[in-house]
Symmetry: C2
Subunit: 264 residues, 2 copies
């Protein structure tokens, strides 16, 4: 933050993490406190600011470009502006929308002080809740075909499965995108074994967190909703059962045959 | 944390994030304060605890399995134990080592309270420092061939480049692994254009942070060290030049042809 908090014309793009204050970084908290305007999707703003706070500039979920332009316009007029994102602002969220609008907007937007403040992204909250499913090479894919052709999503899922990446699937399902996750499961069953571990991680890192651990053969798209991140293990991902506790899911650090301590 | 901090026999696996306290979550801070023993690689422990703190149980970098066993043994004896990792404990770090030792260890280790506490991983700190290079689908690959055959790393790099993933390369180089990053650049030049954006992100999120933005054609392995994360853009990743400030690097949210607002 340093001198930024004492200057005008600043835009902070802030990652709120999963939503509870115990996973909000001090850097994010400091920027939220210093901001004169707070932009973001309403439900994310609700996590950090009162409904009647006059600094609040809520907008709908689909309006990222317009929201970024408003925030940049305010910052260019001299305000200290915060733009909030759930999770990390750089992961399928507002940081790219802000950069895109700076590139396309008036030249003086390039002189603004813009700072991205990272947060705990959903896949790390899900991973922490389950053990260490991202313990080896992994990828993150948004299943939203509002943003790219479905054929490109299929190509990426096939490439990732074929190369042994663990996959974190963001935006798995919504009212307007009801079939994509089911199709992704079908496609992945062509490449991966039925016993491959699948995690439905809902509201990870929040009070109503719910983790469902299953297999690719059993996984059903209707178990996901908009608050769910779906994780597909690699063929090495393992489940460690525990008495009176949920199992631990982890992806070994070592590829098969490379572990000096392995009993195998 | 809830009742965990008042019970014996607990192991917290804690992500410290990049290292500075402004990116350490309150949840991580609370667990560090509650712990009676602190395990970890010495330089990571130095970030959160005094050199003479009697709770400190430092170990070398290569001893993850043994360190996890010691921590689990202490927890099983009733102690409240913290294991610290830089970044996020689930990303090429201690959480998988702990799960692995629980699976292989005595049955009573499965009854311990084990909690993973997420942190800001290096790739998100690098992304935040540069703009939004991870704004579209991405993957994370460790270049350490201590853990897997080099051929598998090459297969993953090829698959990721071919499918248009942005790549975060962890563990790019060390004294004992001097040639791997250079070989990765060579390989990627077969698939990706020479103008593809490459970021050398050193000490991201810390006071001595240094970001170097270049192209795949220009990138040289010797610019990286053990504190560097290397990021390879996709063919869509863009650089927005700014007067008197570092450029912003971002990967557009929309695939080519899918952006309703695009001037193209």
């Amino acid at each position: 933050m340093s001198d930024a908090s004492t200057r005008s014309g600043t835009l902070w793009v802030i990652g709120l993490g999963p939503g509870e204050s115990h996973l909000l970084t001090p850097q994010a908290r400091e920027a939220l406190d210093a901001a004169e305007r707070l932009y973001g999707y309403g439900p994310y703003l609700n996590r950090v600011v009162d409904e009647h706070d006059p600094r609040r500039m809520a907008s709908d979920n689909r309006e990222e470009g317009a929201r970024a332009r408003q925030a940049l316009t305010d910052a260019a007029a001299g305000a200290r502006v915060a733009m909030v994102s759930g999770g990390d602002p750089g992961v399928f969220a507002m940081a790219a929308a802000v950069c895109e609008q700076i590139e396309r907007g008036p030249a003086h937007w390039r002189t603004l002080e813009v700072q991205m403040i990272p947060g705990i992204s959903a896949m790390f909250a899900v991973a922490a809740a389950c053990g260490a499913p991202l313990g080896h090479d992994f990828c993150a894919v948004s299943l939203s075909d509002n943003l790219k052709p479905w054929a490109l999503i299929e190509r990426r899922l096939k490439a990732a499965a074929g190369a042994g990446f663990v996959m974190a699937l963001y935006n798995p399902i919504s009212a307007s995108r009801p079939w994509q996750l089911g199709r992704a499961f079908e496609l992945l069953r062509d490449t991966l074994a039925g016993e491959t571990v699948v995690i439905f991680g809902r509201a990870a890192g929040r009070a109503d967190e719910h983790m469902q651990i299953t297999t690719l053969a059993e996984a059903r798209a209707e178990w996901a909703d908009m608050a769910t991140l779906v994780m597909i293990g690699s063929e090495q991902t393992r489940v460690v059962e525990r008495p009176d506790q949920p199992p631990l899911v982890y992806s070994p650090r070592f590829a098969p045959g490379c572990d000096p301590e392995s009993p195998a």
